[in-house]
Every structure is written in C-alpha cells, then in structure tokens.
C-alpha cells in the first residue's frame, strides 16, 4: 500500500509526537535529540524522556502516597453532589472510554472543554454541517489554500512543513492566501496576505459566498472598499482553482456565527468543485494529545461531542452552550471536578477562579503540582502520554494513530487508574448506609 493511511491505519508509529493534536508521526526520538520535531514538540518529548520526578501523588501541593491519594479521590467523587469529568484531551481513546465509565458510575457531567460545545447557538455541525478532509488531502490536492484568520505556524508548528510546503500531487503549484490582520509567521513559500480584521470575518465570508453563487461585486459593497476588493480577489482565486482548502482556527465568537459563515462558504464552493474546510482547532493551546478522540468517544457514548449534563449511556442529557465545563464550574453547579489529562485553558481558568470551594482530582502526567489545582486538590501522576503510554489517538482530522510506549513506565496508564478509581467509587456507593454511618 502507498502511504500510511491506505490500510487500517493504527499501525504502531514509533516516532509519534503527541505534544499537540497534529500528532506528527515522522519524529525520531533519540536520547537527547529530537528530529525533526518543532521546538514545542522537542521540548515536550525531551522533558518527558529525561525527567525523573520523585513524587507520584500530591494532596494540597504536598507529596502523598498513592493508596492514600486514590482513597481520597474516590471519597471525593463518591460523595460529590454533582461531579464533572473534564480534560480528556491529553490521553488515549482507551482512557476517555474509562473516564466515561467513571462518569456513568458517578452520575457526572462530562465535557472536554471544546469551544464548539460552549457555543450559545449550538454546535456548528447541527446548524450548517461541516465539509472537511484529511490533512493529506489538502497536501496532495488543494491548489488553493486560504488561511482564514489562522496561523498554523503558531498553533500547529509543523503543519506548514508537513502539509502546505510539499508539492501538489501531480506536480502542480499551490497558491496560499492568508486572510488575517497580520501575515502568518513561518509558513514557507509565497503567501499572499490580504489584510482583514477578524471582526470582518463573517461579512467577508458572506461576500465571497455571494460572489461564488453568481452575484456581482456590486452586491458586496456592504464592506469597506479594501475588504470588498479582497473578496473579489479571493473569488477570482477560487474560480481559477481546481481544489480549494480553507484552513480555520477556533473562533472565539461564542455565538458561532463565524464558523457558520465558513461552512456555508465551503458548501457553496463544494457544489461546483472539490472544496473542504480544514478546522485546525486550538492546537498547542489545547495541550498534548487528541481532542478529536474525546469528541469521538463522547459522541458514541452520549450522542454529542461535549456538554453532556449527565453521563448516562441510556439517557444522556445534552445541553450545548449550557452544560459545558467552564460554565458548570463558573456557575457553581459542580462541586468536584475530575480532570483527566489536562483541562482546556478556559476550564483551568474557571477552576482557578472558583478558588477553594471546588474539589479537584487530577490524573496527569505532569511531574509537579499543577498550578490550577486549588488548595485541597488531589493529583495523581500517570504514565507520560508522550513516552510511556500505548493506545489509540485521533489526529485533529480524525485519523486513527496508534501510540506505542517508548520506555517502560513506573506509573499506571490513565485508563487503568480510571478503572481502579471507578471500582473504588462504585464500592463506596454500594457500601451499606449503616456501615458508612459514624
């Protein structure tokens, strides 16, 4: 078979860098040298490979023994009025499944902190859909790439090198146009920059949509002239291209108008010629691992990628824009948070803002107490995702990647620890009331 994706695609990738959702699978990790990972990946891999932390668990920032940490964590979860399971990103799919088992047992809310689950208007896929492709499809087929208010060199450092810089399949030339306030940094080759403020993204998408569907430039004069001209140029480029890819980043717009406008533009182009969106997501900002994996498991367990108000595989309650992790924490609707992997930045900020009245259990491969953990949090160290864990990850475009351990671990895998914790929580729930009474 040609290429790694042509067969069932979970072949062990010994050189996988899981430091961001790009999951680069061409990395050779040597003792003190990582080649050709980006600075971010190299630092993460080297740190994970060389660090030899002493502690395996912390309570209130002080090292404690494992059994004590586990018992305390199980007590917190079993006694919680309403727990929340979050994070789910810096871990394997097997660990997300185990986290769902625990969430079911504890009657928890569950949400990975992705912005799509927090949009007031609901997830974009339910309002307009999504027209996407594997990243290699962009690399091999897209002769026009629009970087739509995103800079992959910042969010996904090697995206340009791996998917934009290689020549097109068949040897054609690729044109890359960046629509953004500032030109992107570090993307190789000639990139045409069309200056445009982020605030104009929705109106510009609408204008290009009008042009693609046969309206005239005069219909786009609701935009200032320079932006209208930019839209005309974009339309010309789209018209002349054989295959169009629009690369986007997560919009901070909480209503969801910007992603909605892009989906409609892509749909209009895709009716005429091959076109797709490449939604890159937060990348490095989301930390290591596999946001797409969390979304996939939650969808098969509960029917939604997040904002599950009550984890119940028979009758899940889904409240997008309402039961996302950050809102549940900020509104004080949860009293204990189980963080698996690491929480999204907004969720970590919400935890920190709640202060000391929130119980925290964190399963993390971090070597030191986490800054957002709170005054009374429990943190248990698990296998390093980057160098000690075996399992399945999903790349940001949904491709399965098999992660293999590079070194023997001295810690349990996240999935195994979750199974143990789930058993301990169930045991406490089933304990007769009389026994539990003082």
């Amino acid at each position: 078979m040609t290429g790694p994706a042509s067969s069932a695609d979970a072949t062990p990738a010994a050189g996988l860098c899981a430091a961001c959702p790009l999951l680069c699978d061409d990395v050779a990790l040597e003792t003190l040298r990582v080649e050709p990972a980006c600075d971010h990946g190299a630092a993460a891999l080297l740190a994970a490979s060389t660090a030899r932390p002493a502690a395996t668990a912390w309570h209130a920032g002080r090292p404690i023994l494992d059994p004590s940490a586990l018992a305390h964590a199980a007590d917190m979860l079993a006694q919680a009025r309403r727990p929340l399971v979050t994070g789910l990103v810096g871990c394997t799919i097997e660990a997300v499944v185990a986290a769902c088992d625990l969430a079911d047992a504890a009657g928890a809310a569950i949400d990975a902190g992705a912005i799509e689950s927090a949009r007031a208007a609901g997830p974009t896929i339910a309002r307009a859909g999504e027209v996407t492709a594997a990243w290699e499809e962009l690399r091999d087929r897209a002769d026009l790439v629009l970087l739509w208010h995103c800079d992959p060199s910042v969010s996904h450092p090697r995206f340009g090198e791996r998917f934009l810089d290689p020549p097109l399949g068949g040897g054609g030339r690729r044109a890359t146009i960046a629509v953004a306030a500032a030109p992107p940094q570090g993307i190789g080759g000639a990139v045409r920059h069309l200056p445009a403020p982020r605030e104009a993204a929705v109106e510009m998408a609408r204008a290009v949509h009008l042009l693609v569907t046969g309206r005239s430039a005069a219909d786009c004069l609701f935009l200032p002239r320079p932006l209208a001209d930019a839209c005309t140029e974009l339309h010309r480029a789209i018209h002349g291209a054989a295959c169009v890819a629009i690369v986007t980043a997560d919009a901070s717009d909480t209503v969801g108008l910007e992603p909605w406008s892009i989906v409609h533009l892509v749909r209009a182009i895709a009716h005429e010629k091959p076109a797709f969106q490449i939604p890159l997501g937060p990348g490095i900002a989301a930390g290591a691992g596999s946001p797409a994996g969390a979304a996939a498991v939650l969808a098969w367990r509960y029917g939604a990628a997040g904002a599950v108000a009550r984890a119940d595989r028979l009758a899940p309650r889904l409240l997008p824009g309402e039961a996302d992790a950050a809102r549940l924490i900020a509104r004080g609707e949860v009293d204990v948070v189980l963080s698996v992997g690491h929480p999204a930045p907004a969720v970590a900020a919400a935890i920190a803002a709640r202060g000391g009245d929130l119980g925290i259990v964190a399963l993390s491969d971090a070597f030191a107490p986490l800054s957002w953990l709170g005054v009374d949090g429990i943190q248990i160290r698990v296998q390093s995702l980057l160098v000690e864990t075996a399992g399945t990850l999903l790349r940001g475009d949904g491709r399965s990647v098999r992660l293999s351990a590079r070194r023997e671990a001295d810690r349990p895998a996240t999935a195994d620890l979750l199974h143990t914790l789930c058993g301990a929580v169930l045991e406490r729930q089933l304990r007769p009331a009389a026994e539990a009474a003082p």
Binding site: I93, I125, A128, G129, E130, E272, W300, G303, A304
Partner: protein, 510 residues
C-alpha cells in the same frame, strides 16, 4: 418499553430447553411445527438422551425463531458519530434517530435481533469503529470495509493485476478486522475528488487519470472477493444512488457481474425511472430490475425500505449526500479521506405527501412483493437512511397484511397511487417468509454458518414471540430473546448485557 407483570424469570445460561414452541426454522424446513429447542453452553444441541439438569422453559403457544440478523445497517464509526451530532433534536426522540452505541445494542436485542453488520467502514476508520463496537452490548457484530476505494486497490484494478488485487484486499481485511468488502458508488470517489461534479452518470466513464471504469471495478472486485473465498460476496452500493432513471445503472450493475456472486445493497434507492433530475418524471423502475434479479440466482439483495418520518442519511457515497444536501439545504457533513473515499451525512424527513418520498416507499415494497425468492432478499431499511431499525415490525406488517398496506397506500401522494404497480400487488408474506428475510436469508447470505437457524450446532440466538394478529405488535416486543443461550431481553426490557463477539472474516494469507 413496558414490562408486563408475568415476565419470565431470567433463564440459566448453561442447559435449558424451550418446550413446546411453534418453531419457524426455514433452513431445516420447519414451518410452524411444535417442537423443543435444547441448549447447552450457548449452542443448540440435538435432543439429549439424558435430559436431567436442563431447566425447562415453557413456550407453548409461542412462536420461536432464530435471532434476527441485520445484514446492512449503520451503527458505528465516524459517520455514525457525525449522524448523532448533526441532528441533536432527533437524538432526544424515542427512539433516537441515531442511537448511542449502547442504546443501539439494547434496542436491537429488545427487537429480537442478535447480530448486526455495519455496512460501510472506511479502512482508515476501522480501528476507531472497532473500539466503538466494543461498547455495543449483547449483539455479535462485524464491519464491511470500504476497501474498494483504496488508491492502491484502484491502481491494481486499473492494471488488471488480479493477484495484487487479491493480496491488497486480503491485507486490508486482516488489518481492519472486516467481515466483507464493500464498494460504495464504484469509482465515484475518484470523480468526487477530481472536480467533475454531477457528470458521473454511467458505469462506463473512465475514472479521472485512469483507464478503468466503474463497471470494471465491480467485475474485478467481485471476482477477487470470490477467489478469496470470503464468507460474504462483494457488497455493492452501485452508482447513481437516488437519481431519477438510475434503474438502468442497477440493471447494468447486475448485467456486468454475469454469474459472479454479489450482494446488491439498498436496491430501493437504485430503482427509479424518470428523466435527468426531473422530479415530475420520477417513478418506479423496479419491473426490469426485479426481472433480471429473479433470473440470476447468484445475486442477493437488501431492499433499504424507506418509512415515513425523520431520520439521518449517512453514506460512503459523498456525491449522493452532496446532491441531496444541496437540493434540501439541510446541514450537511462530508469528510474526504486520504487515499480512499469519504462520507456524507445529513438529516432527512420522508413525507407521505411528497411525490418522491411516496415513490420511494412504494418502490421498496414493490421489490419485496415481486422478488420471487425470499432466500435471496433481506429486509432492511439501511438504518438509519431509510428508517430506524425499530420500524422493522411495521415493515413486516406491511408485507404480511395486505389490508394494512392498502390503508397506508391510500394516504400517500395521489400521483403515486395512480401509477404505482403496488396498487395491484396482493401478495402477503407468511410468517415463514418473514423469518427467512429477517434471519435465515441474511445469515446465509452473510456466510454465518451458525446463525439464522435452530439446528444442532447453531448459536443459541433465539427469539420467542407471543402470537398476535397485529404482526407489528408481535414483532416489536418479543417475549424472550436469547443470545448465545443467555436471556438478554424480555418484553422489551434488557435482562443481561453480554459483550457479544466481533466477527472477522477468515482471510487466506496474502
């Protein structure tokens, strides 16, 4: 789901006998005979000489059939995940249009089904689909791999390199843990990805950049699957799904196979007469297609019946999904995979008063009622594309109760009532025939030797129904459902949640 007060107790999973049931076991020509079914350790055994130690379960007066086998459904994998997310409103319905994997297992079991195949998993999605299927309770399950869209497979077909083709299919099935090879719109992804939208109208247009045509893809794949000796023949979703006039493509598909075993999927969606994209000329093209089918015993099919209501369409045929999404303006999800095809997902509502939908409904029933050999035909709704699998009992009553069918026919679009051959079809399926098209035939067609029958050596996947003149009610809520000898559902309620086996094809070495 209701649980009557007289629910039977949980049966032991070791040794038991179902005594005095009315047996429907078409594979052994038992049509309503009263007999006992003996079970030891999850398998059906001959009546033992020593009957001590067997728990006796009285099923006198009740109908006993093998567990149902859904040969063509969509229950797992990324496209099903997208289907759940694209229509959250339909997820809150009871039953959800695209149930969670756990709910799917419980609903299937409560319906008396014990085996299901997901009919379209991209090879690169196989690992994640298997992880999801591990969460499917009770049922035995398998996947058909969309191996025909693989770039190297197409290149081997293009070269006419049959040895390489067999090697590639074999390797793909082993790596992906597949039960069968599926082709969705033969060659279609190549057109979809290379810019020639909407002009793929026949099986004889060379694929972009190749000499091979869709027809050659079909022929060579079907031969390769036959040569590999896979349990199930090539599973074909042919070209031009949903388009007026596509009955010609279906007939050409059958003609090009010329004696090679093959299974035609959801033929209802491929049996339309009419002009090019002209709704007013839309009609039934079943007659010529079923005539060819009836005369060619190497072919089998599932119908893909539509039933009225809201659902979610999901397909490996990305072009067909785009066509429908553009026509209706509903949310549309598509994803192109690297070096293989992709998928398309969108919500859809079938309405009785829609001309096209009424035709689709009538066309599916016309297939059921004019195909002569039930052993080559499988009841399916292409869940969830045509309807939810929990609607099977309603469909079974439509087939077996002509008066009920006439009532439903009277409600559909008047133009269809005046033109559809369904008006003159009076055939009524017998219980035995319903048993054939829901378990005996799909098991045999899928190549499952130990399923779909109640003979010695069969898996003890058994469904016990209370007889009811309303067949929809009877089939909707079996009294007892056994999976591998374990009681898994009774009167619509789950009783035990075994894991179920993953079925992977025995594939010869490359």
């Amino acid at each position: 789901m209701m649980r009557p007060a007289d629910s039977p107790p949980a049966a032991p999973s070791g040794r038991f006998v179902l005594q005095g049931g009315t047996i429907h076991d078409p594979a052994h020509r038992r049509d309503g005979v009263v007999d006992d079914i003996w079970v030891v350790d999850g398998a059906i055994v001959p009546p033992p000489a020593d009957t001590q130690g067997f728990t006796r379960i009285d099923v006198r007066g009740q109908v006993v059939m093998p567990g149902g086998v859904d040969l063509h459904s969509h229950v797992a994998g990324p496209k099903v995940g997208a289907g759940r997310r694209i229509a959250p409103g339909l997820l809150r319905r009871s039953p959800p249009a695209v149930p969670t994997i756990h709910t799917a297992g419980l609903l299937y079991a409560a319906l008396g089904y014990t085996t299901v195949f997901d009919a379209a998993i991209a090879t690169s999605a196989a690992p994640i689909a298997h992880l999801e299927l591990a969460d499917l309770p009770i049922l035995d399950k398998g996947i058909y791999l969309l191996a025909a869209d693989d770039a190297d497979v197409l290149a081997a077909v293009d070269r006419g390199d049959d040895a390489a083709l067999r090697r590639l299919l074999s390797a793909t099935l082993r790596a992906g843990g597949g039960w069968a090879v599926k082709v969705a719109n033969p060659g279609g992804p190549a057109f979809w990805k290379h810019g020639r939208r909407g002009d793929h109208r026949d099986l004889d247009t060379p694929l972009p950049g190749m000499t091979v045509t869709g027809r050659l893809v079909l022929e060579r794949l079907a031969r390769a699957v036959q040569a590999l000796g896979l349990p199930h023949p090539l599973h074909i979703h042919t070209a031009n799904l949903g388009l007026p006039g596509n009955w010609r493509t279906l007939v050409e598909t059958m003609r090009s196979l010329d004696g090679i075993p093959a299974h035609l999927a959801h033929v209802q969606f491929h049996s339309y007469s009419g002009g090019d994209l002209d709704e007013t000329t839309f009609g039934s093209g079943v007659a010529p297609a079923v005539a060819w089918f009836n005369d060619h015993p190497d072919l089998t099919l599932d119908v893909g019946q539509i039933l009225f209501g809201e659902t979610v369409a999901m397909t490996g045929d990305a072009a067909a999904a785009e066509h429908l999404a553009h026509a209706t303006g509903v949310p549309w999800m598509a994803h192109d995979l690297h070096l293989e095809g992709g998928c398309g997902v969108l919500p859809i509502r079938y309405r009785e008063k829609s001309l096209v939908h009424a035709w689709q409904w009538a066309i599916g029933l016309e297939w059921f009622l004019t195909a002569t050999d039930p052993w080559r035909l499988v009841l399916s709704t292409d869940h969830p594309n045509g309807a939810h699998f929990t609607a099977y009992p309603h469909l079974m009553r439509l087939l077996a109760d002509a008066a009920f069918r006439r009532e439903a026919f009277a409600r559909i679009h008047p133009a269809v009532r005046s033109k559809s051959p369904l008006a003159g079809l009076t055939r009524e399926y017998t219980l035995q025939e319903l048993c054939i098209i829901t378990r005996a035939a799909p098991a045999r067609i899928a190549g499952l030797a130990t399923k779909g029958h109640l003979g010695a050596g069969a898996d003890a996947d058994i469904t016990v129904y209370r007889p009811d003149r309303d067949l929809a009610r009877m089939f909707a809520m079996p009294a007892q459902v056994f999976k591998a000898g374990m009681l898994v559902a009774a009167d619509g309620e789950p009783r035990n949640l075994p894991t179920g086996r993953t079925l992977t094809a025995p594939v010869p070495p490359a």
